[in-house]
């Protein structure tokens, strides 16, 4: 299964949520690889706490591979190479967790050529033979990278793929997330132009809300009644707006609550963070765990 992670804007929590989903999926016993296709800002290494590739790799990064400058992209075994003690041994029953880092200082793709698409097809095809899940961080907004993976997946009709569109729970983000999917040069538009069946494509896209502050969250306990009432009104307004923009409950795969740890630092939330040091919220870990199950649960992806 190929899963593409995209968002309209940068800073929505796409990378942090995507990496945490990948991590949880590996803990659930699956072999997982994470491809950092966010060529402009390859941060996945930092989130997995692999210092040597914190801002991408200097040698054999994905960008270099796609340009044809190296025969195969570098692979980093997170269980072996993470600097975080709690990640450095593979937990019993966990699958492989492999990061394919972007190139340090690589920059966005500037064009789409036949050769680049061919290399992308080869890469996806081989990884899919080997891993239960290949999570691809596609970067923000309309980009050559998004076009690249749309073009590549058309050529591999038997390989299953899905899209996750990440957005924050605000007016601007809801409207933008809808626009990225259904607007001009959005996923449908470009995907259809490249030969995807629009009906099929529609069924393979789900939204994920990030850093959501629920009106009944513990963080809001100290608020005045007026403030709480206002937040509640906002939330129902947003729900109504989301529904109108096709970003509502039916097309939502899940949501991740706002977490104090993630607000301060981009990282994986381990069970240790939740149970031992208690710095992260148990709901956050549960949300990642739930998403990690739902990305492969066909019931969550039934036609709408």
């Amino acid at each position: 299964m190929l899963v593409f992670a995209i968002s309209d804007k940068g800073g929505t929590g796409r990378s942090v949520t995507g990496t945490n989903i990948a991590y949880r999926h590996a803990l659930q016993g699956n072999d997982v690889c994470y491809l950092d296709f966010d060529f402009g800002s390859p941060t996945a290494g930092a989130i997995f706490s692999v210092g040597s590739v914190a801002r991408g790799t200097r040698e054999s990064g994905l960008h270099e591979y796609l340009r044809g400058d190296c025969p195969q992209p570098r692979r980093v075994d997170v269980w072996a190479e993470s600097d975080r003690e709690g990640l450095r041994t593979r937990p019993p029953g966990a699958g492989r967790l492999v990061l394919l880092p972007g190139s340090e200082g690589g920059g966005e793709l500037s064009a789409l050529s036949e050769e680049v698409v061919g290399r992308c097809v080869q890469l996806f095809g081989r990884l899919e033979e080997e891993f239960d899940l290949c999570m691809v961080d596609v970067s923000a907004g309309r980009s050559f990278t998004a076009e690249l993976v749309l073009a590549a997946t058309v050529r591999m009709p038997a390989v299953p793929f899905r899209w996750l569109v990440f957005h924050r729970w605000t007016r601007q983000h809801i409207i933008a997330a809808d626009g990225l999917v259904t607007g001009t040069d959005g996923l449908f538009d470009v995907g259809t132009r490249f030969g995807h069946d629009p009906e099929v494509l529609r069924d393979r896209i789900r939204f994920v809300r990030t850093a959501v502050l629920e009106p009944d969250a513990a963080e809001l306990v100290g608020l005045r009644d007026e403030q709480r009432a206002w937040l509640s009104a906002c939330d129902s307004e947003l729900r109504e707006l989301a529904g109108r923009h096709g970003v509502g409950r039916t097309t939502m795969l899940g949501k991740v609550p706002l977490d104090p740890v993630l607000q301060w630092r981009e990282q994986l939330i381990t069970d240790e963070d939740v149970l031992a040091s208690k710095i992260a919220n148990v709901e956050t870990a549960a949300a990642f765990d739930d998403l990690a199950k739902k990305i492969v649960d066909d019931n969550a992806w039934e036609g709408l």
Partner: protein
């Protein structure tokens, strides 16, 4: 001089094994040429040979730049309708001249790379299969060539891509020379293996058959180890262990046929590997473990049924 090659082996990307006619279609890379099929003791299908022209630097442990020009022979194979392979090799020969000749010259010698200038076979062999050998820019890349041939099989539109489990490809890199018989098989990373072979008499493609046969069995053993490890015997409930082991029973266990396709004169090499490291010994012990687990699970089910039935 020296022969060197690579074999990439992987699980065929299809939900079930494919039939002999399907093998023929998948491997018929070009119409008009025949796929060679043998049926006993296991269905084995081999594509026609393909040539790739190369003008490259040859690997060398010493790091010296040795130029070679010629062609690489590649082919694909499917064993038991279930295991797919890409395989390439080249024979090195000293060039009569020290400059590149017209391509017609090299095309008349399929699978031969002519070495321009001075070179020692041992230096090239060590550069190819030795650990930590320097990789020069523009170096002969059999991995890329062979990988693409395996891709040809795996991306065939005749396959549904719903393989019963995920498994990495293995890569066997081999060198062969004429001389006093000896064989050394070494495991490197999880996916990489090397084989150094010295055989009596001149090189024939039967040596390639041997390498491919070894690669299939090494992949089977590696894969069965992974499946058993994933099942976590003793740490997960018996029913789950049984469920995780069942793909191995359905898709792998019946494929073990060591030396099935190996020419008589080369079988002593297999026999020596059977003594050490003992491929079949390890395979049998794993198979017994899998069968024991399933038997225990079945017994548990039967007695549970008997109990509920008696009530």
């Amino acid at each position: 001089m020296l022969v060197m090659g690579e074999v990439h082996t992987g699980l065929l990307q299809n939900s079930g094994e494919i039939s002999e006619p399907a093998c023929r279609q998948v491997l018929g890379l070009m119409t008009g040429e025949t796929v060679r099929v043998s049926r006993r003791p296991i269905v084995h299908a081999l594509s026609p040979d393909r040539l790739t022209g190369v003008d490259c630097v040859l690997p060398a442990a010493s790091g010296s730049r040795i130029r070679g020009v010629g062609t690489v022979v590649s082919r694909c194979a499917v064993t038991g309708g279930r295991v797919a392979q890409g395989s390439s090799y080249v024979r090195l020969a000293r060039s009569e001249t020290d400059r590149r000749l017209p391509w017609s010259h090299y095309l008349a010698r399929p699978g031969v790379i002519e070495v321009l200038g001075k070179a020692r076979a041992a230096d090239i062999a060590e550069g190819f299969v030795g650990e930590g050998a320097p990789r020069l820019h523009g170096c002969l890349d059999l991995t890329a060539v062979t990988g693409r041939f395996l891709d040809l099989v795996q991306t065939s539109p005749l396959l549904n891509r719903r393989a019963p489990f995920r498994m990495p490809r293995t890569i066997l890199r081999w060198v062969a020379e004429t001389g006093e018989p000896s064989i050394a098989f070494t495991l490197h990373t999880e996916q990489e293996r090397t084989l150094r072979l010295t055989h009596p008499g001149p090189f024939t493609p039967a040596v390639v058959d041997l390498c491919e046969d070894l690669a299939v069995h090494d992949w089977l053993l590696t894969s069965l180890l992974v499946v058993v490890e994933r099942a976590r015997v003793g740490a997960t409930p018996a029913a789950e262990v049984a469920a995780r082991l069942s793909p191995a029973v359905d898709h792998l266990l019946h494929l073990w046929m060591p030396a099935a396709r190996v020419e008589e004169r080369l079988t002593p090499f297999w026999e020596s590997l059977e003594r050490r490291p003992g491929f079949s010994r390890q395979w049998r012990s794993l198979v017994d473990r899998v069968r024991d687990q399933l038997a225990v699970h079945t017994l548990a089910l039967l007695s549970a049924n008997a109990e509920t039935g008696g009530r």
